[in-house]
Amino acid sequence: MRRILAAGKTVSGAGKRRVQRAVSEFLEFEDVSKRYGEVKAVDHVSLSVRQGEFFSLLGPSGCGKTTLLRILAGFEQPDTGRVLLGGEDVTDLPPYERKVNTIFQSYALFPHLSVWDNIAFGLKVAKRPKREIKEEVARMLTLIQMEDQAWKKPDQISGGQKQRVAIARALVNKPRVLLLDEPLAALDLKLRQRMLIELDLIHDEVGITFLYVTHDQGEAMSLSDRIAVMKLGKIEQLGTPAEIYEAPRSSFVAAFIGDTNFFDGTVAEPLEKNSVLDGLLSVAVDKDYSRLKIEDFPDLECFNDKQIKEGEHVFLSIRPEKLSISRERPEAAPHLNMIEGLVEDVIYLGSQTKYWVRTGDYRISVIRQHSRYLLDEKPIRWREKVWISWHADDGFMLEKYSAQDENLIQLPPEEVGETTEGNQILARAAGGGAAPAESPGR
């Protein structure tokens, strides 16, 4: 649920930001690779980040996102390729000569220095005039609202405050890019949500490019202008949060970002013009839709923008919130798919209800938003026979969802329920399977 709320927030937040930014390719990775022994941590990645953008590298652990960040920070040397920052090749520069600053997962504050000295560190090293240091540090302390804690040592402040000091310590140097390595991972949920908002505000205020590494899609979705989803050292998909959520390009992305239902099917011949569903409209749009044969199901229709050919095996992915659930058979409409099933589980979540509906071998997850006063209706209950329907445009035909993907998506226990329970394949994956190997760079 958190994810879906977070995703909603993005749409409004991102729109507001995008207006003020100049668009220019600013930070570029060109064909960057890095190997650790046999493991390809980063595999020929090319990527451009625009100035002022909040860009996230998102992926399961071991996907190479942290390695990519460390290559930019200068802690790792790429085996191939180069890194350009503002048009300048920085591949061979040591970390201390790069105009980028990092926020580490463990914050890495200097324990022997006060909050003030921590923030002043970069300026002091750069031998800036004393007065300027004082002014800048004071400005930062105001930004993070910790003016009265300036003389405390890191072990005397809370986790959230440490996080803010780490941000101030990096930002005071006015880096061209701020690198954030899972900065919220060490905080508890409440604090994480607060810091999320603060990070967003800080980004709006300072206008520096943020490169954010995370395995938490909720964080990435709610903060980012654009996201690169990574898998096994490669970029799987790059786009705005909405693009990635609404139009996942692979099964991996569909399953990793939010919930989805997968149906295993074969593409059949395209719809004939004499489609039973609609005589008038189908003539013009027929070739955009394919018919899908799925075992135990009536034939389904799906938008086919990828020219997937007849006879090909595909995975149909449909987000739970795109499905409608009703007791009565919905009225037939053009491109409306419907199947019948039995409600197996109902979870009432206040603003919405989550249903699991059994049809044949599939356990389909459906989310129903309550836009009207719920107590006036007779809600659907456990063991009821229901109809599930969705528009053909809302499904995606994707390549097979492999066992390898399942293992990669293994998340920490509290996350598993949220992302994977919805369908059988994933539910099985959640139970067993080894966790993916961590890349040595992390």
């Binding site: 920070a73 200068g74 802690f75 040591p94 970390p95 201390y96 000569e97 980028v100 600053n101 990092t102 580490f104 997962q105 463990s106 890495a108 504050l109 200097f110 324990p111 022997h112 560190f121 970069g122 090293v125 750069a126 040592k153 072990d155 310590r169 990096a170 140097n173």
Partner: protein, 261 residues
């Protein structure tokens, strides 16, 4: 059920067993009687008498010079050793290195002393302050290395990366971040080494030369010629110094551990 009194009794017995002899020694150092058996009156007579014994002051100077130089050298070498031990943890050479560093802590002192003596004689080195200091370094180094290694094991090395990330070059990082953070550990190890060096007898006895008598050796020879009250006073002073060092060492390693957390 009432808690058993046995642990309490055992604890106090052990403490008594350890500390009563020391308490008697300290008390006697303030006894104006020549003989420990009878109490005459409380006085600082023996401490004053101590002032007039140039040979004791000479021995004390020797001891402090040796302890200071052995401590300084072993702080440098021990810290470097700890870095190497930490950096290459897991490799076979590291294990060997660790054993080499660790051995002096468990080796019988008499064996160390004897082998040092044979070594110096074989090299035809003139025995004296330098040889004692070198001999002391061999075991002091181990204490420093072990203390610093313990600190390195829970050291967050992303702090080093953070310093570099903020623009600090190698030397700045070492001076501004690494050493200040490790200083409590290094100092704690150093103080431990200092105390051990001050009251080392066996090894010093083997490698001492003419004119390089240390305080423990001096005390030993004074006992042989019989001057117990003076020794009481001297030992009390020595005890006080040792105590201060140990307390400082513990304070520093505690503070260091909290700093790292």
């Amino acid at each position: 059920m009432r808690p058993s009194r046995v642990p309490l009794i055992v604890t106090w017995s052990v403490i008594a067993f350890f500390y009563i002899p020391i308490a008697i020694l300290v008390a006697n150092s303030f006894n104006s009687s020549r003989f420990g058996g009878s109490w005459e009156s409380t006085s600082l007579k023996w401490y004053i008498r101590l002032m007039d014994e140039p040979s004791i002051w000479h021995a004390l100077t020797n001891t402090l010079v040796i302890a200071a130089s052995a401590t300084l050298i072993s702080m440098v070498l021990g810290t470097s050793a700890a870095f190497a031990l930490h950096r290459f943890a897991g490799s076979r050479l590291q294990k060997l290195h660790y054993s080499i560093i660790y051995t002096p802590l468990v080796l019988p002192e008499i064996l160390m002393g004897l082998s040092m003596l044979l070594f110096f004689v074989a090299l035809k080195v003139q025995l004296g302050l330098a040889t004692i200091a070198i001999a002391h370094v061999t075991f002091c180094l181990s204490y420093v290395a072990m203390t610093v290694l313990a600190r390195l094991q829970d050291f967050d090395f992303s702090i080093i990366e953070a310093a570099q990330d903020l623009g600090a070059g190698w030397w700045t990082t070492v001076w501004k971040v690494l050493l200040p953070m490790l200083a409590p550990g290094i100092l704690a190890g150093g103080l431990l080494a200092f105390t051990l060096s001050i009251d080392d007898f066996v090894i010093s006895f083997f490698v001492a030369g003419p004119g390089s008598t240390t305080l423990p050796i001096k005390i030993y020879s004074m006992i042989k010629y019989g001057a117990p009250p003076l020794i009481n006073a001297l030992s009390t002073i020595l005890l006080a110094i040792t105590f201060l060092c140990v307390i400082a060492s513990q304070y520093l390693s505690d503070r260091g551990r909290r700093g790292a957390a």
